[in-house]
Subunit: 388 residues, 4 copies
């Protein structure tokens, strides 16, 4: 197994990628949401599905919750349910985009009563974090405007800071706030946290428990994302990743599906900057499955991250440094791409088997009959989706 | 009224912009559709709303229908209803994106039975066109794929051609087929009609009754849209416009809201190429109103097109030609922008009044109390939206 | 002159836009640089040309220098020459992209000797600033890489910080360092200062005399530039503007030529954030003239900024706030665009005349015969361009 | 060597990629062109360098010429020189962008005398094709405009057609005309052949000897290039490829360097559509080497195409079709990516050796001392670049 040396395997063994509970519900576009038999009807069933991903890969020990989609009466029951299935509850994601009150903003709204409501929602999330044992409160804001003049950009930014300060103040000692940025959608003219610079400026003003969340699909065309990874690690403010991929817009495709080489470059900078298996940097998926099956879609995703991490770990960094220092462009690029082009899949399969995991998690899951089982079992009820 | 000479006013008097019935229903993003009091519950109410736009502007005598959203039992009743409200039924739009069968395509589907169903839907649309007196069948296809390898691009293109041929063969003598292109969404890796070249190649193979529909929001960043207008007019294949605007993605913002100067350039090429008030080129809106009121949103839209057409009509084309021929870049640009910067609004207001129209249609509509009236009247029922 | 109230005219009277000396030399693309008769052969002639812009517009009292292109033996002579022509010497721009040593970087280079040379160049620029009476040292870095793996992104960022610290330490009390960002070109894979976030992080670490330079042409497609203006003003770090415009790449077109409404929105945020006529925010052009005449190209540019500033100043901000607060999207947008669509040009022409300036500076300059004169006078010598 | 079956090797053995003579000269950006010792001073030396690429790879038997850069007094001598070095002269590229007359256009110019000159240049190129035995005349036009209003888009398109007709009429029976498109640069507002649709419409009007050239770097962001490949093959109009890669603008990076997976997808569609080893479709590089060594840069490029062709050839198309037909998105994508992820390099190395070629052409070339030799030999003279 010379392709993957022991220290690389040691790194891979520690790798952990959090799954989003909402990936197991139905999702789609504004044009159509296609339903699938067996889709979970409640948070318990979502966690059961998520646990399958971990069972077959040993890569996904945590499940992120989305409030209010995953609200339950008894979080200790949910926590126990997760543990029984071999996973833990993870990051809590707030939601300020599905209430009529939030049509023109939430944490940034002109109306103090709406801001109050949105802040209170986050305080409730923090309460839930205590109940679930979660560390991170992830905030993605759908706020913005569609037309120039519609909104006072500056006033909104100032109100955002005030609202975040109040939320931040409520965090427990063990908690963190991670602020996600997104350059468009669902607002189409401006969003209030459009880029890493804005997220960084906001969290830097809050304090050491506030960090930036980098969603790989939330950048303008042509953006060098690995550069941002480098910079945020350098500044000590990379709190978490939301992995997914996109060809053009925010499509939430399977991570690594659109541009695998970009994923390689991102993971290389993660390693270069000390972000791999660093508890300060949470790896998480944030993608949905419009046309493909959900559980295997998530299995494919965590495997993509694992395979690409393995490739990034085997870059001959010593030789690379020598080529960089000497200005040998072609040699440096060759060394870099050599790792990318190395087929680590057979070695990973062998290693999985040595750990009691299936060599081919996708095939093993398909053979398990789980999808057929849930399709048969989960009859009636309302399938989970973004709206429920 | 020297700013707008008589011949310009004569051109403006003929201008006609078709409205989309769906603009009066609720719409939004995959994150949230905000509802508004008074939203129509059926096609009759949509037409009543659309008629308000025409009443205050004299710019919008036709309403485009969307099938099945606007299916009714009795199209002659719908037609009579429209006429009573002072408008006509216009283009019929097909819909092959909201049925579970169409998850992996419609006119391009691998399965002949699904293609049959999709073709039959278009044949039904043609039947409806006979009943409504519509000329144009507009086809926008949501078809495509999300992942490389998922679909056989070539096979789909060939099947598209076959399906279109069957639909084309069914057109009446007075009918046309207009094929819209869109470079992404709801499919995220490939769409089957992504660009004007594909639409042109397809309709050129069909025959003289098939034309291209140019939706101003359906291009990659940086695309020079007015160039395409020029080219399609030159090739005799510009069948219709779907006007709207966008900052980044396909946002369906009010036409002229994002880049008014681009709208000016587009209209200048329309005029330059003989497309204005040319029956072969249908002007139509295709935009929705996520956060603003719908009827005034449509009034604003047709006014934007009118105002910008007026500006484009007053370019001093003789002087412009002289500057172009002599290579005087700054002077040519000055002449061009001078028209854009000319404030035609007071002259248009005066002209509207001279025709018995309100000088300020937005203010007049607001004063009419229509929105309050429909909010009070339309109680109960299900508000129209993309899903119904 | 009711369109432009007295306080607006008072603001406009103070407006000052610095000109780049290099705009008067030849420039072009990698494919071809077209030469023009009369192009300056030395910094003195560039300043003479720049002074014409100020003479006809009273808008451009300063000329930015580029070192080494504008190196002279006697800066006090150059300063006196400028003053004789009615202008002052302004910002000093460094150049670390035209020396063979800088093929793989300058302030970020792996080799300490090259960094030393690049730092020393900046120290020399600071010496020149003392001689010229300049306040600002503007640093745009062409540094980056073309291929993944070619460069160590993180190491380069750290070295950049170290190099900037040494330069910063040498600034006089009256000096400032402004760091420009650019997302691509001439490096095509990564640039070391690609976005405002990076520039901000770097200058924030340096101290209060270091600021960000926002070049309007240096963003990814779809970027909301006025948002960045707002944010940098809010953070107290907007040091200067480089105005120009672009349709796609970094084309250096005349400011306002590609998207005048975007320029309006930018200037509105400048005013909203207190950046207009604020000595902390330098307005500067950074654009070249590939196919149009240079002096009138610059006149057109400063007029564009003036005209758009006038429009931005007449936004009815009180009514706008009311519409924003009440969530009246259409009304807020109407108020905003009403100012944009107002034709301020006649009022500006009248006002110019009242101040002893030509009503139409473009026409007056053309009538002056200056271009013919320099074409006749400047015979022999080597025309200035980026290479000299 | 089971990874690459015999029929795949048979396909690879036929593969031929034409090299651009200008890749061996100096090139760069508008900011700086870095020179390299040993750079050719004339077409003979360029061909000698190009022959090295073929010698070490057996992939590049032809060299494309650029007129006037590669004009010589005696083309039969050049032809003989090529043959002595084991290569042939290939495509002739015209140049209408480096003469002062072409500032505002060439084949589209308002002035008939300039058009005449540009047409005559192409007729001269056809004469040269007779002398060199070339089949293809490749036309890339730098024509366009920088400012709206500067040019009459429609008139230019009509003149383009007329000019092309005259050139087309002069082609010999064995000749072809291939028309390249490019969506921006060096013109920044509009280019006269911006997209495949325009090129297609133009060549379709000319006749069967006119074809489209697809340059992989000449598309707007987000464009699905493999779709265009499919469409042009389907329409029978894909005449040639210009391979290169880009992260953002037209950077002319080494093919496969920016997005190897995109190159895979393109080559898959080439094979799917019957374009591989089809004499109608010429494979050509069009890229330059700003910072890396030129000869090895070209070797790397042809190897990248070969390696990716091998991957595209081993897609299990039967299994892929089955997954596509059954709508198994994840399985179809897995099969597709499995080929991409397969490391074909060892098998290719072994196969090369079996054919008497070096297993590692890059290493073998480096060991040959050729670069050192030309650096020592080529002293004096003027190094070739775009300007000469």
């Amino acid at each position: 197994m010379s392709i993957l040396p022991t220290d690389v395997l040691g790194q891979l063994e520690q790798q952990s990628i959090e799954l989003p509970s909402w990936a197991f519900g139905n999702s789609g576009t504004r044009f159509k949401v296609f339903a699938t038999p067996g889709t979970p009807r409640d948070p318990f069933e979502k966690i059961a599905d998520a646990a399958q991903v971990h069972r077959f890969t040993a890569l996904a020990p945590k499940v992120a919750l989305h409030i209010p989609w995953d609200k339950v009466d008894d979080y200790s029951a949910l926590r126990a349910h997760a543990e029984e299935h071999g996973v833990e509850l993870g990051t809590v994601n707030s939601n300020t985009f599905q209430d009529d009150d939030y049509k023109f903003g939430a944490l940034t709204h002109e109306d103090g009563a709406v801001r109050r409501k949105a802040i209170d929602h986050h305080l409730e999330c923090i309460d839930i974090m205590h109940a679930t044992g979660s560390r991170d409160l992830k905030i993605w804001l759908a706020e913005g405007s569609n037309y120039p003049g519609q909104a006072d950009l500056r006033g909104r930014q100032d109100r955002l800071q005030e609202s975040l300060e109040e939320i931040y103040a409520r965090l427990g000692d063990e908690h963190r706030l991670v602020l996600e940025y997104k350059f468009f959608e669902p607002a189409f003219y401006h969003t209030d946290v459009p880029d890493w610079g804005t997220s960084y400026a906001q969290v830097a003003a809050l304090g050491h428990k506030a960090m930036v969340c980098l969603d790989t699909g939330h950048h303008a065309p042509g953006t060098n994302i690995e550069f941002i990874v480098m910079q945020l690690l350098r500044l000590g403010k990379l709190g978490s990743f939301d992995f997914n991929s996109r060809f053009y817009a925010d499509d939430d495709l399977i991570v690594g599906a659109a541009d695998p080489y970009q994923l390689f470059r991102i993971l290389f900078e993660v390693i270069r900057g000390g972000g791999l298996n660093n508890p300060d940097v949470a790896f998480m998926l944030d993608q949905c499955h419009n046309v493909e099956d959900k559980v295997p879609g998530q299995i494919r995703s965590v495997l993509n991250v694992q395979e690409m991490t393995a490739r990034a770990l085997i870059v001959d960094t010593e030789a690379l440094r020598a080529a960089q220092v000497s200005g040998d462009v072609l040699e440096a690029n060759r060394i870099f791409m050599d790792a990318f082009y190395t087929d680590v899949r057979p070695a990973l399969a062998e290693w999985r088997e040595s750990r009691g995991l299936p060599a081919d998690p996708m095939a093993a899951f398909a053979a398990s009959g789980y999808l057929q089982q849930i399709a048969a079992d989960r009859v009636g009820g309302v399938q989970a989706s973004w709206g429920a």
